[in-house]
């Protein structure tokens, strides 16, 4: 059995990173925040707006979780236990989007016919 193995480290060793790493991530978070603000400032609309908002949001969230919260250096057992459940929320998003569309439709049919 030739499994890939990684050397076990004690916790203290595992979380020693140079300060520069945090400053670089900090800088990127500033740049990405500025970009998402500019999306609003330049009044991008429609799919371009939504795409850019989601892109900058996910990049920022990824940087914070991976580097600031040290998720990149945790065992996959913990990473998957924490990251996978929130992804399943997307199913809930789908259900509620369907429900909201239905509510909207019934409101259009029954409440705004007079106007």
């Amino acid at each position: 059995m030739a499994h890939a193995t990684i050397p076990a480290k004690t916790h203290d060793e595992a979380q020693q990173h140079p300060i520069k790493l945090y400053l670089v991530v900090w800088g990127w978070l500033f740049i990405l925040s500025a970009c998402s603000y500019l999306v609003d400032y330049f009044k991008f609309e429609g799919y371009l707006r939504w795409f850019l908002i989601l892109l900058f949001m996910l990049l920022k969230a990824g940087l914070i979780v991976a580097v600031f919260m040290h998720m990149a250096w945790e065992r996959l057992a913990l990473v998957y236990a924490i990251i996978v459940p929130p992804v399943l929320v997307l199913v809930f998003v789908g259900i509620m989007a369907l429900e909201a569309n239905y509510t909207f439709l019934t409101r259009i049919i029954f409440f705004v016919t007079g106007s």
């Binding site: 076990a8 459940p85 909201a100 259009i108």
Partner: protein, 240 residues
């Protein structure tokens, strides 16, 4: 001196990586999170549950915004500020975002200096983080005051759909509460670092356990999470 409970993990020879590692860790005896201490694992699980709470808030916001027949107020205009005669859209929210991100940066560095056992720098950075957090809450209080003066209520507002007020006060209020509690805990941890509790093995007031510098990382996880939630609120509530 041992506390009798496992707070640190230095044992274990070699561990599998990848998917086989996940299967091995989860099917093993005693503990699934082999390299994370119980304190860290519990904070992560708490944050996961908190993720679901904020997910539900944002989902209910999505649902009411999609289902209303009244136009949604334009956040870009509602949250604009007049500075020196010109109108800046969303400027206060942008500044709040930068303040919170900066506090996350100082927090990450506090954790780093904590593991280097640099007591002074850790405490100073924790206090700076708390100060930035308090600034954020202050700006949020200003924002709430401004909106309430202009007539925003949870049940009505002058700009459009009534659901705007209820979701706004609910989501930002809950997030602001999280920041406030974070500031309180940061101050407590800063005091313990400053006193040298984690060097002398002084017992904490809450659990009665001997603290370690990992406490700084655990409170840091909470603080970064608060910043993380703001990233999503900023995108979905203010920018969408």
């Amino acid at each position: 001196m041992q506390d009798g409970t496992l707070t640190h993990t230095a044992e274990a020879p070699e561990r599998l990586a990848g998917l086989q590692g996940i299967a091995a860790d989860w099917s093993s005896d005693q503990r699934s999170f082999k390299t994370a201490s119980w304190g860290k694992a519990m904070m992560w699980i708490f944050l996961l549950s908190d993720t679901f709470i904020f997910s539900c808030f944002l989902l209910s916001y999505m649902t009411v915004r999609m289902s209303t027949v009244v136009p949604w107020p334009n956040p870009s205009e509602v949250f604009a500020l007049h500075i020196g005669g010109t109108e800046f859209p969303l400027i206060l929210i942008a500044i709040m975002t930068f303040v919170l991100i900066s506090s996350s940066g100082t927090m990450a560095m506090a954790v780093n200096f904590g593991y280097r056992r640099d007591r002074t720098k850790t405490a100073a950075l924790l206090l700076l983080t708390a100060a930035l957090g308090a600034t954020f809450v202050g700006m949020q209080a200003f924002e709430w005051t401004k909106l309430i003066m202009e007539g925003a209520r949870p049940w009505s507002n002058p700009w459009g759909a009534e659901q705007f007020g209820s979701t706004f006060f609910m989501i930002t209020g809950f997030h602001g509460t999280h920041v406030t509690f974070g500031v309180i805990f940061l101050l407590i941890v800063a005091r313990r670092v400053w006193r040298g509790d984690f060097d002398t093995g002084h017992r904490g007031f809450f659990t009665g356990r001997r603290g370690q510098y990992e406490v700084v990382e655990i409170i840091g996880l909470y603080w970064h999470f608060v910043d993380l939630v703001w990233v999503f609120i900023f995108a979905f509530f203010y920018l969408w």
